[in-house]
């Protein structure tokens, strides 16, 4: 599932379509290329440094753009005086809020990329300059005079919900509440999901556990800071080179903010050094375009790491309560949760996704979840891998582990007893189709890791997790070249090896070797609209478009062979990369290879291509189960991750290396989130750790090899059975690690990150309590 991160309110539901069965079980038995592990086409460029990322583009006459940012977490911008900066030699343009018109479609994005009445967080953009050098641009920033009227601020979600909290938006009326509140608050929206009667359910339970949990905001931590080069011509024709997960979306938003037709803006996605959801929106791109338009020269903006932390989009922090009841023999009778997420200065914290996915792993008669989307004086959050799910699942799976302990049942057994399966009415409404939770639980239970002995101060944790996955608007083209090679153009930036997957699927359909297929990510002027690379949708959606484009090209190649042989087109079939007469009645002809048909294409009607555009439906959900062994130093609270196993349903692994890579990456980001990563705010509302020294992501030596098991329960909505795998992997780790650490420490931990001071305090407090 994906949400337009720039939508001002909850996502507009897409037109509901009934999914068709696309899966071809016979074909799946004879895969030749699918499931192999060839080198990725972009690999050589990346290891040799030839790949061009956001900041690698240079245009003639290019200027350096820098952004002046608010030092205050909350302040009225009384005035901005740019006179002195504009007068400085070498400064070519200066822009402020006055250079952008109001925009009803993208109001929040507009306010976020350049503050309007108020600065809403430390790091909020106030003005920008373009100059001939960085030194001049820096000097110019110092010459801009901003008169701020400082306001009280709030960065904590629970404090922000209090009635007397400093108010960010005077017009924010909580949505989803009837009757609508009469007074504004920091609560952007409330939503509720579930079915049955939880009170009646709890009455049937033998054991009920209710707990409060908190998680800190974390950043995606992509290695490449946001960077772009904008070039607006004198005639208004514009180009933008940028590092993004969705260049079509960037085009849409930027064109709107600048007030130009989309046809006047061509956006090219650079290679991308990680995104994880954080590059699904715009920050610097409209600013660079506006600076370029004013200066009449290309402008490059590249964020520093400090800016990435303070002014791009981390994920939400959360405060939650979860209550679950279970019978002695392990039947979950009811589950209830409240999930309060702050997503920074504007609406859009993924609390609703959190509430929807919290109990998704369970078949429950009675379930109720409530979500609050809350604004605070922090940077506006962006998507981060399975947005909203890791936190709520952390809370639920922690209670599940505790319940298993209380009733003396193996935690995997308890999950198996209550697992969601095909036909289960999900905790968020729809019925599940074919899905693989039970299979991942069984594989985890039977894995040698699960029965390996543990040493002193060590603990094992298990958790399951879920993600919806998403299809969306997709458009791809496949061209058969005259020499028999194949060129594919997709509109979804490759952030996880998807070009390799596209090549594999085309090679499979066409019956030619992988090496003869190349895939590029085309710019916005070369293809129809493509939704962003998000929601684990690319191998599913672009992959299906490539398969269907391949099939159209095959049909055309059969036509061409029929023309050459002078037989009806229906009498030709495609097999192993060759057109063949379909049977004895069709005539006796030597099969023609793809290369032979391509070589004569100019004489049979010209170039051969296939194209497919659609709004992809039927993205199958993906479940996973993780096992982790942790060791806690009881004297310092330090946690070591000793062993880690990810078991996840991939539907079908097109390129197993990249599926495993997604599993491992999700686990590693989850380890960081669970143990040491956090946005730390001071009393002054300023971020204390805007750098990798004190924003503690795991380093390689902190991690064991992450073991993976790919479970394949085919998704009926894809010809090869593919399910998205990019996001589910980050859902279970927070809970799995919390369960492992709690077991090792001998005390239940309910707040993330489980940094050494917090773990040590919990151990020491438990000792005192025991005495």
């Amino acid at each position: 599932m994906a949400r337009n991160p720039d939508a001002d309110s909850a996502p507009a539901p897409k037109a509901v379509k009934t999914s068709t069965i696309e899966f071809d079980a016979d074909k799946a038995k004879t895969f030749k290329v699918v499931g192999s592990r060839p080198p990725r086409p972009d690999g050589m460029d990346k290891v040799t440094g030839r790949a061009r990322f956001g900041a690698d583009m240079v245009m003639p006459g290019q200027l350096v753009g820098l952004i002046l940012r608010s030092p205050h977490p909350h302040a009225v911008i009384v005035s901005i005086d740019t006179t002195a900066a504009e007068a400085l030699s070498g400064v070519k343009s200066v822009i402020t809020r006055d250079d952008f018109a109001e925009n009803a479609d993208h109001h929040d994005v507009l306010c976020n990329i350049m503050a309007r009445e108020k600065a809403l967080y430390e790091g909020h953009a106030i003005a920008a300059v373009a100059a001939t050098s960085k030194a001049v641009a820096r000097k110019a920033l110092k010459l801009i005079k901003v008169d701020y009227q400082i306001l009280p601020h709030v960065t904590d979600v629970d404090l922000a919900m209090a009635p007397d909290a400093p108010l960010l938006h005077a017009d924010m009326i909580t949505s989803g509440v009837t009757p609508a509140p009469t007074k504004p608050s920091n609560i952007a929206g409330r939503s509720e999901f579930g079915h049955g009667d939880v009170e009646a359910g709890f009455a049937l339970a033998d054991v009920i556990i209710e707990r409060d949990f908190k998680t800190a905001a974390t950043h995606q931590g992509y290695i490449e800071p946001h960077a772009c080069v904008a070039n607006v011509g004198a005639d208004g024709m514009s180009e933008l080179w940028c590092c993004t997960q969705g260049h079509f979306h960037v085009r849409q938003v930027c064109a709107s903010l600048l007030g130009i037709d989309v046809s006047r803006l061509r956006v090219t996605a650079s290679e991308i050094g990680g995104g994880f959801g954080g590059k699904t929106t715009v920050f610097i791109e409209p600013v660079a375009l506006a600076l370029s338009r004013k200066a009449g020269r290309p402008v490059k903006i590249a964020m520093s790491r400090d800016e990435v932390f303070k002014a791009s989009g981390p994920t939400a922090s959360s405060s939650m309560n979860v209550k679950i009841g279970v019978t002695k023999d392990g039947h979950i009778t009811a589950g209830e949760g409240e999930f309060r997420y702050q997503g920074g200065a504007f609406a859009g914290a993924p609390a609703d996704f959190g509430a929807m996915s919290a109990f998704a792993c369970y078949a429950l008669d009675n379930v109720k979840t409530v979500a609050y989307d809350v604004v605070t004086n922090r940077p506006k959050g962006a998507a981060y891998r399975a947005p909203g799910a890791p936190m709520s699942v952390y809370a639920v799976e922690s209670v599940i582990a505790e319940l298993a302990g209380e009733i003396g049942m193996d935690p995997i057994e308890l999950r198996l007893k209550n697992a969601a399966r095909e036909g289960t009415k999900s905790s968020y409404g729809p019925k599940f189709g074919s899905c693989g939770l039970v299979e991942t639980l069984e594989a985890a239970r039977d894995h040698p890791h699960y029965s390996a002995p543990l040493g002193p101060n060590q603990g094992r944790g298990v958790a399951s997790g879920f993600w919806f996955n998403f299809g969306g608007e997709t458009c791809s083209t496949l061209n058969i070249n005259a020499d028999g090679t194949v060129a594919i153009a997709v509109g979804t930036p490759d952030i996880g090896g998807s070009r390799a997957a596209m090549c594999i699927m085309a090679a499979e359909e066409l019956g030619i070797p992988y090496e003869r297929v190349r895939t590029i990510v085309a710019d916005t002027s070369s293809l129809g609209y493509n939704d962003t690379t998000e929601g684990s949708r690319v191998t599913f959606s672009s992959g299906m478009a490539v398969i269907k484009a391949s099939r159209k090209a095959v049909t055309e190649m059969c036509n061409r062979a029929a023309m050459i042989w002078d037989i009806p087109a229906e009498a030709v079939t495609w097999e192993d990369g060759h057109a063949k007469p379909s049977g004895a009645n069709a005539g006796e002809f030597e099969p023609m290879s793809l290369a032979e048909i391509a070589a004569t294409a100019s004489k049979t009607g010209g170039p051969i291509a296939g194209h497919h555009e659609y709004n992809a439906d039927g993205a199958g959900v993906s479940f996973g189960t993780h096992i982790v062994d942790t060791e806690v130093d009881p004297e310092t609270g330090r946690v070591d991750i000793l062993r880690y196993t990810v078991v996840q349903d991939a539907g079908k692994a097109i390129h197993p290396d990249y599926v495993e890579g997604q599993f491992q990456g999700g686990a590693v980001q989850g380890i960081g989130w669970a143990l040491n990563e956090e946005y730390i705010y001071g009393e002054d509302g300023r971020l204390q750790n805007a750098g990798f020294l004190d924003y503690r992501m795991p380093v390689a030596s902190d991690l064991p090899m992450i073991d993976t098991v790919i479970v394949e329960v085919p998704n009926p909505g894809h010809p090869y059975g593919v399910r998205g795998v990019g996001e589910t992997g980050i859902v279970p780790p927070l809970a799995a690690i919390a369960n492992g650490v709690s077991a090792a420490a001998g005390v239940r931990l309910t707040e993330l990150p489980m940094s050494p001071p917090r773990v040590l305090k919990a151990i020491d407090d438990a000792k005192v309590a025991a005495q």
């Binding site: 310092t636 609270g637 143990l675 204390q688 020294l693 940094s755 040590l760």
Partner: protein
């Protein structure tokens, strides 16, 4: 900004002394360049000391070692005899940064940057390392503990440069160790750092001890009460508990993003005990090797 790379320490000192604006010494630059890039300092003069021979060599002296102030940690840690004699000091330096940083970073840069969490300093303090300082008024010798005052602030006068650090000969039954606490395994800054150096007589009674403590106060501390708790004991549990308590008592930490007061205070004692145990093992091994290695 002017960059100079003199050949003698006297010339370097003269350059620094005569600069009217802001001057900075450049050793490995792993602190200075970071500060330059972030705009924290904007010096008018930078004097590179890596071309001064007396500052780039390691020489044996009175059974101990004189280490030039511009010797990188990587070079130092390849000196087998030095590593055998002062493994704790060497480990402290070796913990700094990564392989890349090691090729540049110096112990004296670590010392003169005056960060309370500087990893090589508690070990040097425990070993009672002596710095030789050259300045406009000549040469002076100062114990390492007396150089840092507060973050970014030292007792060095304008124009003064640390030329070398002298580590005395380790005794026959002597050993040192340095341990730091970080939440991760590397590329992190010490939340607590403890360097210890102990000497024992033939019967295993501790005759001398020094405990250096990092990251728990405005500067690196020498904890005399911790040493007193050890001296005269056989480093039994009672003595170690007393030493841990004294170490914790010496802490004057702050609550910050890296740790709480409570946490740092407790972990300082925990690490001190662990470091003494390592130092003891080393001392006994050294004694069994006849006072070598």
């Amino acid at each position: 900004m002017r960059y100079e790379s003199p050949q003698t320490i006297e010339a370097a000192s003269a350059l620094l002394a005569s600069e009217a604006g802001l001057a900075r010494i450049l050793a490995g630059g792993t602190d200075l360049l970071v500060q330059l890039r972030s705009g924290m300092v904007e010096p008018d003069l930078v004097v590179d000391v890596k071309n001064i021979p007396t500052m780039t060599s390691i020489v044996e002296e009175n059974g101990g070692y004189r280490i030039g102030a511009a010797v990188s940690s990587a070079v130092m840690n390849e000196h087998a005899d030095l590593c055998a004699m002062w493994p704790g000091v060497m480990e402290g330096a070796d913990l700094i940064g990564s392989t890349q940083v090691q090729g540049r970073a110096t112990m004296v840069g670590n010392l003169c940057n005056c960060g309370p969490a500087a990893d090589s300093v508690p070990g040097m303090v425990a070993a009672n390392a002596i710095a030789t300082i050259v300045g406009p008024n000549g040469r002076r010798e100062v114990p390492v503990i007396d150089i840092p005052v507060a973050p970014g602030k030292s007792t060095l006068a304008k124009g003064e440069i640390v030329e070398s650090v002298f580590l005395p000969a380790q005794v026959k039954r002597g050993g040192d160790a340095y341990l730091r606490f970080i939440p991760r395994t590397e590329m992190d800054i010490a939340v607590v750092g403890v360097g210890v150096n102990i000497e024992l007589d033939d019967s295993g009674v501790c005759t001398h001890a020094r405990v250096g403590l990092g990251a728990v106060a405005i500067k690196v501390l020498l904890v005399e009460d911790a040493a007193k708790a050890l001296i005269g004991s056989k480093l039994d549990d009672a003595a170690l508990d007393k030493m841990a308590a004294a170490t914790s008592a010496a802490c004057k930490p702050i609550n910050d993003k890296r740790g709480t007061i409570e946490f740092r205070t407790k972990v300082a004692g925990v690490l001190a005990v662990r470091a003494v145990k390592i130092a003891l093992e080393r001392a006994n091994k050294r004694a069994s090797n006849g006072g070598e290695k």
